[in-house]
């Protein structure tokens, strides 16, 4: 007992934690194994019976976990791209080319003091960032990333998206009101006015598209923008002229502008105009609560870009029909040869790629050449594997095109931030009500008329 006590005394804090955790984990694992062994079939039955719920919970968890990395990527993009536009260097210290800086920012935010002002309403103050972050994260649920790679698909997905997206304003208002700060209040009210005003053109601009598509399911909208071949069970793409942006150009323009305002991005970032109202609704926030606002903003940028991609830019469809190659090598057909392939190919590849560096440059040490060869082999193998996956799996190809388009749009958002000044609140509201709303109504009527005329010409209603 004394030995144990002395050991305990000599342990550091992480050591003490591990000292407790490891036996606990071992116990839990054992218990879990026993439970699965005894009741595995019943548990599986229950899970399969409630498959939609299980799928939803799983997807929601995955998306919540994915949200911070997406935000980190976009924050890094913003830091680096704006720095390059400003002729600065930007982040270059943490990680290669500073890529880890946004992650470090996220960790820093976690460690900062979580401060509540004296007269703030503590409950509302605490829940405001949660509401904002949750609405943003919930919006991701309906977005189809790739064929078969989506959390939920139902016929009201678009409506759901706008409804949940509109809830963001509640969180911003809560934060602005509860902070007991006039800058926060002004920021919250500005965001309420702005988001409520821009919801209308945003939603109306899409109605024309919905008329054309005949559905509000985002999956179906995406499928309509490419040639969708279901007979062979595989998805193929058509040309990019099938995208809705060419059938609804005005709607795309309105949607892009209104979406910028919805995401509170420059030139419509009045809610957090730092030269006017300090940081708007987030003035009094610090620590992780501010971090939630921050993440929510960048996830907002992502989902707005993703929705634009889905609605107008063909979603996960490739912009051109690429020839389908059936080149699926079944690893099982190699038999025992697989073992040799797995054992020898990396070794031989590394040596092969290292050889030129060692042979043709006398200064290179053999181990340096080996490291170079190993890295190169990984790059080549990764590339080949990616190519193989792209060709053979629809979802890989879809994800590639979807993320490519989405992050191009994110880049456009960042580009605008680097270039444009901020509009004034009266100009902002005037633009929404005097220009965007009439334009979206016009687009709606023209589309409806076009559909009617086309149906009449074709003979009989749709």
């Amino acid at each position: 007992m004394t030995a144990l006590a002395r050991t305990w005394d000599h342990l550091t804090l992480p050591g003490k934690a591990l000292f407790i955790l490891i036996p606990l984990l071992a116990l839990l694992t054992t218990g879990l194994i026993v439970v699965i062994a005894l009741f595995g079939k019943q548990i599986l039955d229950i899970l399969i019976f409630n498959l939609p719920i299980v799928r939803f919970v799983f997807a929601a968890t995955v998306l919540l976990l994915l949200a911070p990395p997406i935000a980190f990527v976009i924050i890094y993009m913003e830091m680096k791209i704006i720095a390059l536009m400003n002729l600065r260097i930007g982040p270059d210290r943490v990680g290669p080319w500073g890529t880890l800086l946004s992650t470090i920012h996220g960790l820093k935010v976690l460690m900062k003091e979580d401060f509540t002002p004296t007269r703030a309403d503590p409950v509302v103050f605490t829940w405001a960032p949660v509401v904002v972050f949750a609405t943003m994260a919930l919006s991701v649920l309906v977005i189809p990333f790739a064929p078969g790679l989506f959390a939920q698909d139902f016929n009201l997905a678009l409506l759901y998206f706008f409804a949940i997206g509109g809830l963001t304003v509640v969180g911003l208002l809560m934060g602005g009101w509860a902070s007991f700060n006039k800058y926060s209040l002004l920021g919250g009210l500005r965001s309420a006015a702005q988001i409520v005003s821009y919801e209308i053109p945003l939603t109306l601009s899409v109605v024309g598209l919905v008329i054309l598509a005949g559905t509000m399911s985002l999956n179906h909208i995406v499928q309509q923008q490419g040639v969708y071949v279901d007979a062979t069970g595989s998805h193929g793409s058509g040309w990019f002229l099938d995208w809705y942006v060419f059938r609804q150009p005005l709607a795309f323009l309105i949607f892009a502008i209104a979406a910028t305002a919805e995401a509170n991005r420059t030139p419509f970032d009045l809610t957090e105009a730092d030269s006017e109202i300090v940081a708007g609704f987030a003035t009094e926030y610090s620590g992780m609560r501010f971090g939630f606002f921050f993440f929510a903003e960048y996830i907002g940028v992502f989902i707005i870009s993703a929705l634009t991609t889905v609605l107008f830019l063909g979603g996960w469809n490739a912009p051109f029909p690429f020839p389908r190659i059936s080149w699926l090598v079944d690893p099982g057909s190699l038999g025992i040869g697989l073992l040799f392939v797995v054992a020898l190919v990396p070794l031989l590849g590394t040596l092969l790629l290292a050889a030129p560096f060692y042979l043709f440059r006398s200064q290179t040490r053999w181990w340096v050449a080996l490291i170079i060869g190993f890295v190169l082999f990984n790059v080549v193998a990764g590339g080949l594997f990616g190519l193989w996956a792209y060709i053979n799996f629809d979802w890989v190809a879809g994800l590639f095109w979807f993320l490519g388009k989405t992050f191009t749009l994110v880049f456009v958002f960042v580009w605008m931030r680097g270039t444009l000044p901020r509009v004034r609140i009266d100009q902002l509201m005037g633009f929404a009500w005097k220009w965007l709303l009439p334009a979206s109504l016009l687009n709606l009527f023209v589309t409806a008329l076009g559909v009617l005329v086309a149906d009449a010409l074709r003979g009989g209603p749709a």
């Binding site: 002004l186 006017e276 680097g418 000044p421």
Partner: protein
């Protein structure tokens, strides 16, 4: 003494123990904790229906230094404002009374840290008038050359600030490239990047050197292109133009009544530039125009300053062309004792008229040195221009008038 100083009994000081945090919500209002001293203060600190105070500064991202403005708002509309100064007050005039004539030059330097040379120029000229010194022509040319460089760097910074206050991130960093080149070459000439301490009574501190001239020649070869590239970013920007035009309009009559000078006055159409209207130094020998605009709004002030940059480049070209040989300092004793008298000198700086009123009592220290700084006057004009505009325009109007808080709080 019967001056209307409120006595201690009717004052409630800020460290009065009777004022506690529990006194109510009023503690959080920017209302001063003592009875109003003037009718204007009483009127300002009385809220009308639906109005509220908002305290902008001294810790605000865009107050151009340490300025505090109490705004009275009706929604987002500014009804009235009360700038509260003094956060940067250093008592430079008092310090100058206790320093000898040479030392005062380094005292007045940090007043206007964006364009320090003009802060030196006015008192130095006033002292030269007191001493009846003839400044060598080469020194005058060097003064004009370095002064115009400083004017360009100040205007470059103005462009960036103005855009930043309108929400544009990029222009300030672009303009800092230009400013940094100028500041580096002035550092080669004067030894300092910001507070140059370069002008001396009767001349300048050092002659032109090789590094300065090579940097200058290098920069001059691409200056016009650089200036145009920078301004193109804003001049053709629809959002910027729409926000700045018609903002903070001031007409000629009001501008004169507000004692405005410099580009802010010329933006209303009055060609008042001391370099032409009251020539000093060697400006009569140089060819340049006084650009004016008639709109009198923020955009006009911005465009006018950008136009002035081009004129300054012309002046620099001519200065280098005509630079005479000769001494750079007049012959003066080490210890200056001007005979008793008074002198006023004013120079045209990037922000307006910088003036100095020096009184000598025959000793080696100035009896009184009054510095006139245009930032002080232009910040006051915000009170006349802002009411009726939106909160977002507070900083835009303030930036377009281009005050520097170091000069405002002497």
């Amino acid at each position: 003494m019967t001056t209307p100083t409120p006595t201690a009994s009717e004052h409630r000081s800020t460290d009065d123990p009777r004022i506690t945090l529990d006194e109510g919500v009023g503690v959080f209002e920017p209302i001063p904790p003592y009875p109003p001293r003037t009718e204007r203060e009483a009127e300002f600190y009385t809220l009308g229906d639906g109005e509220m105070f908002i305290n902008m500064g001294p810790q605000h991202p865009s107050t151009h230094g340490v300025l505090r403005v109490v705004l009275k708002l009706d929604g987002e509309k500014v009804v009235d404002l009360d700038p509260v100064l003094g956060y940067l007050h250093r008592g430079v005039e008092k310090l100058c009374e206790n320093a000898d004539y040479h030392q005062t030059i380094s005292q007045v330097d940090p007043l206007e840290y964006i364009s320090s040379l003009f802060c030196e120029w006015a008192p130095v000229t006033a002292y030269e008038k007191l001493l009846d010194v003839e400044v060598p022509r080469r020194a005058e040319y060097i003064r004009v050359l370095s002064g115009e460089l400083n004017r360009i760097s100040s205007h470059a910074l103005f462009m960036g600030w103005f855009a930043l206050d309108l929400g544009g991130l990029t222009p300030i960093l672009w303009s800092f490239i230009e400013r940094d080149e100028i500041v580096e070459m002035l550092a080669a000439l004067t030894g300092q990047r910001m507070l140059f301490n370069y002008f001396r009574i009767g001349g300048v501190n050092g002659d032109l050197n090789h590094e300065f001239l090579s940097r200058l020649g290098d920069w001059m070869s691409r200056a016009v292109g650089q200036v145009e590239a920078n301004t193109k970013l804003l001049n053709e920007n629809e959002i910027f133009v729409r926000r700045a035009s018609g903002l903070g309009v001031v007409d000629q009559e009001t501008a004169i009544r507000l004692c405005m000078t410099g580009a802010n006055l010329r933006a209303t159409g009055i060609p008042f530039d001391l370099r032409r209207t009251h020539p000093y130094s060697i400006y009569p020998e140089l060819e340049f125009d006084i650009p004016t605009r008639s709109e009198g709004d923020s955009l006009a002030r911005y465009l006018l300053r950008m136009e002035e940059v081009k004129q300054s480049l012309r002046i620099i070209d001519q200065c280098l062309d005509k630079m005479p040989d000769g001494p750079i300092m007049a012959k003066l004793p080490r210890l200056l004792r001007p005979r008793p008298g008074r002198a006023w000198a004013a120079v045209e700086g990037p922000r307006g008229v910088y003036g100095a009123y020096a009184i000598s009592d025959g000793t080696d220290q100035p009896f009184r040195l009054k510095i006139h700084d245009p930032s002080f006057i232009h910040l006051q004009a915000v009170g006349a221009l802002l009411p009726g505009n939106l909160l977002a325009d507070t900083m835009a109007i303030m930036a377009s008038l281009d005050p520097v808080m170091g000069g405002v709080d002497k």
